[in-house]
C-alpha cells in the first residue's frame, strides 16, 4: 500500500508537523542571515518559518545539507570524569526520532552513499541509530538549479530511501505526500491524525530524467588522467581550506579527538577534511600526502575513482555545493570538463 495524503496548504503541513514535535525533532530548510540551512522548526522565528515552503519545494538544495543531522559535525561518544585517580565513563544518550522536511533527491542519495561506508561491517552504530530514527520527506525537483549536476550523476529525482515523497499540486495548492517506507507509512498515519487527508493521486514530476554519466567510464578516464599536469595547476589554485569537504553531502571523513579540563572530559568525533595537511601528517612529522597536489588529487579521485572501485558508485551527487562555495571557483565540473571528451559525450 502506498497511501498518498494531502495537506490543504504547506502551512497546514507545517502545523501538523509542529504537533508532532514532542515526538520528533522536525527540521526543515530555512535561511539564517541569508544562508540556507536545515533547522529545527521549533527554533525558527516567524520570518524563518515563512522561508520553509519556498526552500522545501525549491528545485535546488540549500547550502547546508541534511548530513549534519545524521553525521553531526561534532559528536561526543564518551564522556568521563577522572577524580582522584578514579575514572567514570558515560556514553551519551540515544538519539531522538527526527523528521527532515524538504530534503532533496541529492541529499537522499548522498546518505545512501554514506550508508555504503558507515553501515558496512563493522557498522557505525552512532550513524545507524540516527539513520534508523530519521524520516526523510523528499521533494522531487522538477528542474535543476544553476549549479546542479544531479542529472549527470544519476541522482535527479532519485527516490531510493526517501520515506515520503512530497510535491505541490499547483492547481489546488495542496501539498501531497506519498509514503514509500515503513517509517513513511507510520508518519503518514500520524499526519492523518493531525488533520491531513488521503488523496487519490500523487503528482509526478514533469521533466523526463536524463541519462547519467557512467561511473566506470569516469573512473577509467580519471585513472588515465592521473599523471596529467592539470593536477598541479589545479593545486596551485586551491587554497587548501575545507569548504568543499565540509559542504559536501557525501564526505564522511572524521577525526577523533579528546578533550579534558580538570576532572571532566570527552572523546568525540568531528568532521575532518582531506584538504588539511594535518589530516595525514603523523606525529613524527612524516606525511604521505605532503603536497597540496596530493591532497587535491586525492579528493577528486576519492569521489570519482576510488569510491567507484570500492562501492560501485560515484562518490558525488552533483549537488554543486563545493563549486558554489569554493573561494577560488573549483567545482566538480572543473575536473569533469577536463578528463576527456568521452565522458562528456555521454
Amino acid at each position: 500500500m502506498k497511501p498518498v495524503i494531502a495537506a490543504k496548504s504547506f502551512e497546514q503541513l507545517l502545523k501538523a508537523l509542529h504537533q508532532l514535535s514532542s515526538k520528533y525533532l522536525v527540521v526543515a530548510p530555512t535561511t539564517e542571515d541569508g544562508v540556507e540551512h536545515y533547522r529545527p522548526i521549533t527554533q525558527m522565528s516567524e520570518e524563518q518559518k515563512s522561508q520553509v515552503e519556498r526552500l522545501s519545494l525549491r528545485n535546488q538544495p540549500p547550502l547546508g545539507s541534511v548530513k549534519p543531522f545524521l553525521f553531526p559535525d561534532s559528536e561526543i561518544y564518551i564522556e568521563f570524569t577522572k577524580k582522584d585517580g578514579k575514572l567514570d565513563v558515560q556514553t551519551p544518550r540515544a538519539s531522538v526520532p527526527q523528521i527532515i522536511l524538504g530534503a532533496k533527491p541529492c541529499d537522499v542519495v548522498s546518505l545512501e552513499l554514506i550508508d555504503k561506508v558507515f553501515l558496512e561491517d563493522p557498522v557505525d552504530g552512532l550513524y545507524q541509530e540516527k539513520r534508523d530514527n530519521t524520516v526523510l520527506i523528499v521533494n522531487q525537483c522538477d528542474e535543476m538549479g544553476a549549479n546542479c549536476r544531479c542529472d549527470d550523476f544519476g541522482v535527479q529525482r532519485s527516490t531510493g530511501s526517501a520515506d515520503l515523497l512530497m510535491s505541490k499540486d499547483e492547481s489546488s495548492g495542496k501539498i501531497l505526500l506519498k509514503a514509500q517506507s515503513e517509517k513513511g507509512n507510520i508518519l503518514a498515519e500520524e499526519l492523518l491524525k493531525e488533520g491531513m487527508e488521503e488523496n487519490p493521486v500523487f503528482r509526478e514530476p514533469k521533466v523526463p530524467v536524463k541519462e547519467a554519466l557512467e561511473s566506470e567510464k569516469i573512473q577509467q578516464a580519471m585513472d588515465d588522467f592521473f599523471e596529467s599536469p592539470f593536477w598541479e595547476e589545479l593545486a596551485m589554485r586551491c587554497i587548501g581550506c575545507a569548504t568543499c569537504t565540509f559542504y559536501c553531502p557525501t564526505c564522511h571523513c572524521y577525526d577523533i579527538r579528546d578533550f579534558q579540563r580538570k576532572e571532566q572530559g570527552a572523546r568525540y568525533r568531528t568532521w575532518d577534511s582531506c584538504m588539511f595537511p594535518d589530516y595525514t601528517r603523523m606525529a613524527g612529522g612524516h606525511n604521505p600526502r605532503p603536497t597540496r597536489k596530493d591532497r587535491v588529487q586525492n579528493r577528486f579521485y576519492h569521489k570519482l575513482s576510488y569510491f567507484v572501485k570500492n562501492e560501485g558508485a560515484l562518490g558525488c551527487v552533483g549537488c554543486g555545493r563545493c563549486g558554489e562555495k569554493c573561494p577560488v571557483g573549483i567545482s566538480m565540473d572543473t575536473v569533469l570538463n577536463r578528463i576527456g571528451g568521452e565522458v562528456n559525450d555521454k
Binding site: 582522584d84 585517580g85 579540563r261 580538570k262
Partner: protein, 658 residues
C-alpha cells in the same frame, strides 16, 4: 616522571588556616605524584633534608613545594635541587602562605584554595624543562662617548681600575661645557682650575686613548661585545708633526665668530678651541678656510715649521671592540629666539646666561669685563629672567633645567663682587636650592643685594632712549602688581636641552629617550645609570639636567658598573629567557621591536623541504641579553616564542587546572 609534593606548615602560619594534611592527600592523587609529605618548616635544615631524602629514596625528578612566596625561598629550594643533581627549574612553588593562609579567614575555603594552588604547581611541573644561564666573555675595554666632565670622570675611574678606555669627543678638545664656565657654585671655585688638571690627567693616562674631533659612526653587538666604528674627522693637521706652536693660528687670515665665546669674539679658520685645550693642537675648519673655499691662500701650510698641515687629509674610520659603553654626551642650550616676548636676537643687550658666563670669564672675550653688546658700555642694571624656556608647557620645555637658580645666584654674587655698583634683578617662578650648601648660597646672593622678584616677565622691549636701554615689564608677586624695570642688560636663563644628535645616537646604541629627548635610565630609582641595553650606561646631563657634582658622581657610578662587568669577566644571562621554536617561527620579526633589550635578531637557517635545501629566516635570541619578560611570547602569533619557566604549555596547564 616522579613528583614529590611537600607542604609546609610554616609553624602555625600555614597550618592554622590550611589543612595541610588534606592538601597533601588531595594532591597526592594527581598523576605522577609519587610522594607527599607535610613538614613543619620546609626552609629549615630539617625540612631541606626531608626533601633531599625523599628525592633519593623515591627517585624524584621534580619537586613541588606548597609554602611561602617563591619570592621568599625559591633560591633556597633551587639550591637544594642543585645539590641533589637536579635542575633548579624542576622545583615549582605554590604560594599558600602570602596568597592563602595569611589573607583568608575561612579554613575550609582556604584549604580548597591551597589544594588548587598546589595542583596548579604540579600541573605546571609536568611541563618543566631544565634551564641554564648563558654566559659570554666580556671585552674588557670601555668606550666613553663625550669628553665633558662626566665623560672625563668616568674614563679616569675606569682607567684607574686598570682597564683601557677610549674617550670620544666631537670637538677638537675635551672639557665640554664646564670649560666655558667662569666659576662654579656654590664654592665659587674657578672652573678651569678644577677642570684642566682632570683634562690633562685624562690625556696622559696610560689607559686612556683620546679620540677628539670624532663621532660615533656605527655600533653593533651587545654587552661585553660591542663593535664600534668611530669617525675621526679630518683635522687637516698632522697630529704627529704638529708641536702646537700656534704659528698657523696667528697667521691665518680667515676670521669667524667664535662659538666657544658664544659669538662674542672671533677665531681663525685654523684654531684651537680654547687656550687650555687638550690636545692643544689646532684643527682646520674647512667650511671657513679660504684655501678650501677658493683654492688660494695656503698660508698655514707655508709657515708651518714642521710641515704638519695636510689639506688632503681624509676622515678616518676606526673600528674597535668594547665591553661597555658610557654615554656622557651632555646637553645644548636652547636658543631663546622663539620666545619673542624677550626680544632675544632682536636686541643685542638681551643675552643668555652662558654669554654672561663668558663675559665674566677672565679668559673670555672681554677678559672678565662687563659690557653691553650694543654700545660696549658697562651695564649698571641687569635683569635676570629665570625659566626662559623651562617649566613652560606652551612655548618651551615643561621640565626644570635645575641649575639655573644656582648659577644666576652665582652671577649676581660675581657681579656684586666685581662691579659693586651694578644692580641685579631676578625674575623667578620658584627658587629651587635643593643641594648641599645651595640654600646658603642663594641667601648670600640676596644678602649681597640681588633683587628677587617672584613673577613672570611679560615683555622685554627697547625703551627707545638714546642709550638704547630695555624695559622689562613683569609681575611682582610680592607686591601683587605689574612692575617695570629699565635695564642695561637682560640675561635669560635658557633651557637645557638634549644634544641635536641625541636621537640618532640612541638609535645606534639601542637605548630609549624620554619624551623630552633625554636618555632613559633602566629604572628611575634602582637603575639610574643603566639603560635598557645592557652594557650601556648614562652619565651627566644627557640623562637629564643636573649640576656638576651630580654629573661627576653619576659618572663614577657608570665607571663602577663597567668595572664590575670587567672584573666579572663574563656576562651571565638569566636562565628563564625566551626560546624560539624554529620549526614554528616564520621569521616575521614582529617580536624584534617588542624586545626592550635588543636580544632578538634574525638569523638564516637551512632546512630541507620537499627534497630541497632552502634558507629561511627565523628569530634568534641572544640569551645573554634576554631578561625573560615574555613580551615577545605574548605577541608571537604561532607561539614559536616561549619563555623558559613560563612556557605556553606551562601557563596553559596552570589555567587548565584552576
Amino acid at each position: 616522571m616522579k613528583i614529590g609534593v611537600f607542604i609546609c606548615w610554616c609553624g602555625s602560619n600555614i597550618k592554622n588556616m590550611v589543612d595541610v594534611e588534606r592538601v597533601a592527600e588531595a594532591t597526592g592523587k594527581m598523576p605522577h605524584v609519587v610522594y607527599t609529605q607535610d613538614v613543619q618548616y620546609l626552609c629549615s635544615e630539617v625540612g631541606q633534608s626531608d626533601i633531599g631524602n625523599a628525592i633519593d629514596e623515591h627517585q624524584l625528578d621534580r619537586v613541588v613545594i606548597g609554602a611561602c612566596s617563591p619570592r621568599m625561598h625559591e633560591t633556597t629550594f633551587q639550591q637544594l635541587m642543585n645539590r641533589k643533581g637536579l635542575n633548579p627549574y624542576y622545583v615549582e612553588i605554590a604560594n599558600i602562605r602570602e596568597h592563602c593562609s595569611w589573607v583568608h579567614t575561612d579554613k575550609a575555603k582556604a584549604t580548597v584554595k591551597a589544594i588548587d594552588l598546589v595542583k596548579k604547581a604540579v600541573a605546571k611541573s609536568y611541563y618543566a624543562v631544565p634551564l641554564h644561564a648563558e654566559s659570554l666573555p666580556v671585552n674588557k675595554r670601555a668606550l666613553v662617548i663625550g669628553g665633558g666632565i662626566a665623560g672625563i670622570q668616568a674614563a679616569l675611574d675606569i682607567a684607574d681600575a686598570g682597564y683601557p678606555v677610549d674617550l670620544l669627543e666631537k670637538e677638537s678638545s675635551i672639557g665640554g661645557k664646564m670649560a666655558q664656565f667662569d666659576k662654579t657654585f656654590p664654592t665659587l671655585d674657578c672652573s678651569a682650575c678644577i677642570l684642566t688638571p682632570k683634562m690633562v690627567e685624562a690625556a696622559t693616562h696610560e689607559n686612556i686613548t683620546l679620540h677628539t674631533y670624532s663621532e660615533l659612526e656605527d655600533v653593533s653587538g651587545y654587552v661585553g661585545n660591542f663593535h664600534v666604528t668611530i669617525r675621526k674627522r679630518a683635522t687637516s693637521v698632522d697630529e704627529e708633526r704638529c708641536t702646537g706652536c700656534g704659528e698657523c693660528v696667528t697667521k691665518c687670515p680667515a676670521k669667524v665668530d667664535n662659538e666657544f665665546d658664544q659669538g662674542h669674539s672671533k677665531r681663525k679658520a685654523i684654531y684651537t678651541l680654547f687656550a687650555q685645550a687638550v690636545p692643544n693642537k689646532p684643527v682646520l675648519d674647512r667650511k671657513n678656510c679660504i684655501y678650501f673655499k677658493t683654492g688660494k691662500c695656503g698660508v698655514c701650510k707655508k709657515i708651518c715649521p714642521t710641515d704638519a698641515i695636510n689639506y688632503e687629509m681624509e676622515d678616518q674610520l676606526i673600528e674597535n671592540d668594547y665591553g661597555a659603553i658610557i654615554v656622557a654626551t651632555g646637553f645644548e642650550l636652547n636658543e631663546p629666539t622663539h620666545l619673542g616676548e624677550y626680544h632675544y636676537g632682536h636686541h643685542p643687550d638681551v643675552i643668555t646666561s652662558l654669554e654672561l658666563e663668558r663675559m665674566l670669564n677672565a679668559s673670555g672675550p672681554t677678559q672678565g669685563k662687563m659690557y653691553r653688546p650694543s654700545n660696549g658700555k658697562e651695564p649698571k642694571r641687569i635683569v635676570f629672567i629665570q625659566c626662559a624656556g623651562s617649566r613652560d608647557r606652551h612655548d618651551g620645555n615643561s621640565y626644570c633645567s635645575k641649575v639655573c637658580c644656582l648659577y644666576t645666584a652665582k652671577h649676581t654674587i660675581l657681579l656684586n663682587e666685581k662691579f659693586p655698583d651694578t644692580e641685579s634683578y631676578v625674575f623667578y617662578i620658584d627658587v629651587r636650592t635643593a643641594g648641599k650648601n645651595y640654600e646658603e648660597f642663594y641667601e648670600r646672593a640676596r644678602q649681597m643685594g640681588a633683587n628677587y622678584l617672584r613673577g613672570h616677565v611679560s615683555k622685554v622691549e627697547p625703551l627707545g632712549d638714546s642709550d638704547n636701554r630695555l624695559l622689562v615689564r613683569g609681575y611682582d608677586g610680592s607686591l601683587g602688581e605689574q612692575t617695570e624695570i629699565e635695564a642695561d642688560l637682560v640675561v635669560l636663563a635658557t633651557s637645557i636641552e638634549p644634544q641635536q644628535g641625541a636621537k640618532k645616537l640612541a638609535g645606534m646604541l639601542g637605548i630609549s629617550s624620554d619624551r623630552n629627548g633625554f636618555y632613559s635610565e633602566a629604572h628611575a630609582k634602582l637603575k639610574p645609570v643603566e639603560t635598557q641595553t645592557q652594557g650601556v650606561y648614562l652619565a651627566g646631563v644627557c640623562q637629564g639636567p643636573k649640576d656638576i657634582p651630580e654629573a661627576v658622581s653619576q659618572a663614577s657610578g657608570t665607571a663602577a658598573k663597567a668595572i664590575v662587568l670587567f672584573n666579572r669577566g663574563q656576562v651571565k644571562g638569566v636562565p628563564t629567557t625566551a626560546m624560539v621554536d624554529e620549526e614554528l617561527c616564520s621569521g616575521c620579526m614582529q617580536c624584534k621591536p617588542v624586545c626592550p633589550y635588543e636580544a632578538i635578531s634574525q638569523e638564516m637557517i637551512t632546512e630541507r623541504a620537499h627534497g630541497k635545501a632552502r634558507q629561511r629566516p627565523v628569530a634568534s635570541i641572544n640569551r645573554a641579553l634576554c631578561q625573560g619578560c615574555g613580551a615577545c611570547a605574548g605577541l608571537c602569533r604561532s607561539g614559536a616564542m616561549d619563555i623558559g619557566g613560563f612556557t605556553g604549555r606551562q601557563l596553559l596547564a596552570e589555567v587548565d587546572t584552576l
